[in-house]
């Protein structure tokens, strides 16, 4: 099945529903501002952007920062000692310990006092000399392309932090629009044949955000991420049947669009109908575009190998990363890729034996992630793309039980690579134990603000009448790492 090009599509009347609807919404006051100044986003950046799109890699369950991108020799030195016995006793007196924490289940996750040495070795990589653990050798290999932020913090010490990482709000406050949905809301699409916010990998479990982790919430369902399968054999269920005429089906879709446009005029209260109209416009084009973009076998053998598609450990996440690149290349604004969702807290949640938990998981993602950055670079796409890597929190410098690490919201790392971001730099720092973020501290919305800044969006202009955004929602861009 062929897709007619966009021009003929619009000319043929498919765009009718959208136009009629927006006119209607204005008339009926649904979209009228509470404040006189408010106008709906016009799909254009607020200022000159550095990048066009984002690939957001999220490790579900909490990835260790001290065995990741923030090695701490003091842990080796004081291994087995309690924090209070170590020279860093003051860590426990830090105001950050209580001030920033809002526990989902109070008292459940206590400070783990007994320091545990790093379970992985580390070394300096590249010209920049970035310190990276031995569990991430491939990402180490792209050290000169990435900017590590070691001073992230969040306020939930339980896995509701997964939702918080995406909404900026503590899970106890409920779901809010996610970073991807704000971008979808603020910026027009670069490719009308594909959703502009795509979700790859198994979504968060219900405990920790579920569908809300990529939801549009009060922006409406049309701003939620669209989950796609990176499976070349089954990328979309319900594809057109053989022999189906494209032109005839287009006529049908156009009729559906017009009829639902009329229905929307009658039912201004139905948030879903707006989303539905959009979803039909997209569905028609997607049914050809998605199988095409998921033809991972079209990639050259060396590229497939680079992503690890030839190895059982890396194949699954390699497919996701390769699909993310292909989607991104085609203009998808925001690709949110999950790794490690397991129906519960997430695979990375290593309370018992981190030495058994982390290495196989790192093995699954390390090579594909590095391949993604390198691949974007070799195609000249990295300058206009941002790759973000993160997890809901880090893991405690102290041992949980004999060999595990507990949840650690007080200080943890993320990294970025791409246009507008400095290369081979480290920003911010945790203390000697990797406990508190102490220099250039960043709450998760600072990451959102940074991404929005690069995309040319001002978060303060991303508002909806009647919906109050708090100061904390907006965050502050991490200007120190921006070029």
């Amino acid at each position: 099945m062929q897709t007619p090009d966009r021009r003929s599509f619009l000319a043929s009347g498919m765009g009718f529903a959208g136009l009629a609807l927006s006119a209607m919404l204005q008339r009926d006051g649904v979209a009228r501002a509470d404040e006189e100044k408010w106008t709906a986003p016009d799909g254009k950046p607020h200022f000159s952007p550095k990048i066009k799109r984002v690939i957001w890699l999220f490790m579900v369950g909490g990835t260790s920062h001290v065995e990741g991108f923030d090695p701490k020799p003091m842990l080796d030195k004081y291994n087995g000692m309690t924090i209070a016995e170590s020279p860093f006793k003051a860590t426990l007196d830090s105001p950050y310990l209580k001030k920033n924490l809002r526990e989902f289940v109070p008292g459940l996750h206590k400070v783990q006092p007994k320091l545990m040495k790093m379970q992985a070795g580390w070394k300096k990589y590249g010209k920049s000399g970035l310190a990276v653990s031995d569990w991430w050798p491939h990402v180490g290999g792209i050290a000169d392309d990435i900017a590590v932020v070691r001073s992230m913090w969040t306020s939930d010490n339980d896995h509701g932090a997964q939702l918080q990482f995406h909404t900026g709000r503590h899970a106890l406050e409920g779901p809010f629009p996610t970073i991807g949905s704000w971008i979808r809301y603020g910026l027009g699409s670069l490719n009308d044949d594909l959703p502009s916010f795509v979700v790859l990998g198994k979504p968060l479990a219900d405990c920790c955000g579920g569908q809300f982790g990529h939801g549009g919430n009060y922006l409406g369902p049309e701003y939620s991420g669209v989950p796609l399968l990176a499976d070349p054999k089954n990328s979309l269920p319900f594809l057109p049947m053989k022999g189906q005429s494209v032109e005839k089906q287009l006529e049908q879709f156009q009729l559906i669009g017009k009829l639902n446009g009329l229905a929307a005029e009658q039912t201004p209260d139905d948030m879903n109908i707006r989303a539905k109209i959009k979803s039909y416009e997209l569905a028609f084009k997607m049914q050809a575009a998605v199988p095409e973009v998921m033809k991972l076998e079209q990639e050259k053998a060396d590229v497939r190998k680079m992503y690890g598609l030839d190895q059982p450990e890396t194949k699954e996440f390699g497919q996701l990363c390769l699909a993310a690149r292909r989607l991104s290349e085609k203009g998808v604004r925001f690709v949110q890729v999950y790794h490690g969702s397991n129906g519960g807290a997430g695979a990375w949640d290593s309370h018992a034996e981190i030495l058994k938990n982390h290495p196989p998981l790192c093995k699954q993602v390390d090579q594909p992630i590095a391949a993604l950055v390198q691949d974007l670079k070799q195609r000249g796409l990295l300058d206009e793309t941002l790759v973000v890597w993160g997890s809901e929190f880090g893991r405690t410098p102290g041992a949980e039980g004999s060999a595990g690490r507990d949840h650690h919201p007080y200080g943890f790392s993320i990294w970025m690579a791409g246009g507008g971001v400095k290369k081979g730099v480290v920003h911010g720092a945790t203390d000697e134990l990797g406990f508190h973020a102490v220099e250039d501290r960043h709450y998760v919305t600072d990451l959102h603000a940074t991404v929005l800044q690069l995309l040319g969006l001002d978060p303060r202009k991303l508002v909806l009448p009647g919906r109050k955004r708090l100061e904390i929602d907006f965050g502050k861009p991490m200007s120190a790492i921006l070029t």
């Binding site: 206590k110 219900d206 979309l236 006529e251 229905a263 009658q266 039912t267 139905d270 569905a283 129906g343």
Partner: protein, 807 residues
Amino acid sequence: MSGIVLLLIAHPVSAAEPVDFAKQIRPIFEKHCVSCHGPSKQKAGLKLDLGKRVLKGSLNGPVVVAKKPNESKLIHALKGEKGAESMPPTGELDAATIDIIRRWIEEGAEIPKDEADATAKHWAYESPKQLPVPDGVHPIDYFLELEWKKRGLKPAPLADPETLVRRLTLDLTGLPPSPADVASFRNEDTAKRIDALLASPAYGERWGRHLLDIWRYSDWYGFGAELRNSQKHLWNWRDWVVESLNSGKPYDKMIREMLAADELAPTDPQALRATGYLARSYYKFNRNVWLDDIVEHTGKAFLGITLNCCRCHDHMYDPLAQEEYYRFRAIFEPHQIRIDPVAGERDPEKRGLTRVFDADSKAITYLFERGDDKRPVKDKPLSPGVPAAISPKGFTPKPIALPADSVHPTLRESVRQAQIEAASAQIKQFKTEPRNKVAVMQLQAVKAKLAADAARYATPPNPRAADLIRHAVGLHLETMALAAEADLAEAEEALKAIKDAKAIEAQKKKIAELKPKVDVARKAIETPPADYTPLVPNNPDSTTGRRTALAEWIVSKENPLAARVFVNHVWLRHFGQPLVPTVFDFGKNGRPPSHPELLDWLAVEFVKSNWDIKKLHRLILSSRAYRMKSSLSGPDAEANRKLDPDNLMLWKMNPRPLEAEAIRDSLLAVSGLLDPTTGGPDLDFDDEAPKLRRSLYYRHAPEKVMPFLMAFDAAGPTECYRRATTVVPQQALALVNSRLSARAAEAVAKGLTAKEPNAIVPELYAKLLGRKPSGPEAQLCVEFLKTNPPVALAQALFNHADFSTIR
């Protein structure tokens, strides 16, 4: 639906006013202290959950000296000074927080007089009370109106009859009304129409599926053919749910049967199906996981409590202790699952009645330290119990003796028949000797065993029992001997046909082995054993009565939660939003009801009506609120939207997306493809069958949910207290490209009576959307028909928002 909930934010602090204990101090204690000094734990005998208890102090005396913060131990502890143990142990509170407490003491440590009523008690743990409602006013409208008036909201006008009848019909049956159903409806017939819809078998199918969401129905699943979770034949329970709703079984009785039909109706196979609720939680590899699931979901589904939080520690928000979790588990500790034979089927894998029973009344429950099953507290076996804070009384388990025909299955006619049928079938199968005489003797042995069973298990036992047992043993041994001889004779016969030397050798060896077996079997007849192996294993002769006691406690008058939780679920499915947003958590960490008095009024009324579910529907559906329009424009609506954009106060009806099953079933209904057969084993998906069954009859288990239903947010089989409602392009493709939609469109087009576009369009609108097309709609459709066949229009209309929305 996510378990994420809103927290009530503590009252802000103002420096000028005196410190208010309830608003400023109590939240601090609640947040930082009560997990160790509260209802579930009282370290050093100190409770900080209520002002009067704060003033009472610890085992060592008062911790607060009014007006003298520097002499108050509480302050010493908070500051970790003057030798006091620093509190809380997780780390010092910030200075500002300590300062508020200090100021409160300085100002005289005042506490509110009526504190117990105002703050300590959580609404959901108090019995619901029915406030009076003025005569002639519908209680629902009365309570909603109170809020509208308070907020200056104007209620929406009533929906037109076409919209209302479609709403009612979809809501109660999950199927759209036929054009005749719509045409015959007048607003004044509402009550009658509701009665008719409630009487339709489709009602039980629709609401049965709702309840199966909450009770997490799943057919068995596992790894390939290996069953790991849930059980075979669980559809029996599904059918029980549907039939119970249709027959008007009271909700309390449903709970009793699901938790304890094996104790309350041990010989009633119809009722026993209900215990599929418990069988569903079966997990092959870990009994702890299995029981944890039962505890968690029984708590959430029937009581709206998150008892699961107490597996590792006392509940952090609610007065539920870790020990109570394990006492609750002890209720289920003795139970196991078995598959009872059913008439006409001897292989329980193929068909049978999956039910629970208490297999081991002596099974012991221990608390697991920090929830770790490797650390049971063995010196303290726990008796069964229920959370006292919810209702301390009404749980009194007593062992129940089980009737003989439950203990000895062969006393049941159906079981006897199945045994005889199976043995007779052998005779038919083996028509030639030597096997025929084995089968004939086998049948005699079966009959003899049945006769002996009947005699020995009669009350009082028949004196002839001993003879009959001996006789049965004799026939059994004779059968064994004949079988051994037959084996030998067949082997010798086979030898004649073998030519190959090696094979001859092997066969001779086999014969040599069989010969002594004949001798052994013959010898056995001379020294017969005292008894025969039973045809069907016997079952325990009593049950602990624990689950019966639990059911009684859940539905007792003193239990404040069961009715509220259920009413809230029903409300959610009529209005598209619940009264308590956290439908499975009515505890302190859940969100408060939007209309507490209304919730309570309905809960009390529901119990008063003898838990009559259909009456509850009638009550809700007869309100004006239910009949309001869902979409409106104009200045009133605009003003309302500003005040309450999310319609939390229900000033209008909510338009609701149809659930996955209802969308598929609607396609079948309007096209005539629907096979209205009810009940039966879970079906394989087959879009090509001449007629298709309603969606709830197809296999539903993790990784096995029908793809069409998956696209529309079908219930997750492991947990679904509330459906997700996403709008994604995959849904459009399911309605445009699926084989199902194509078939339905063809059938609709075929059934058209109209020939001209001008007539076809209204006929399709009436059939598919239950209304007339508007002018512009008709114009668009007629235009479309100029270049497209009616089948394409029919399919387009499946994609009309009105097709998949309850307006």
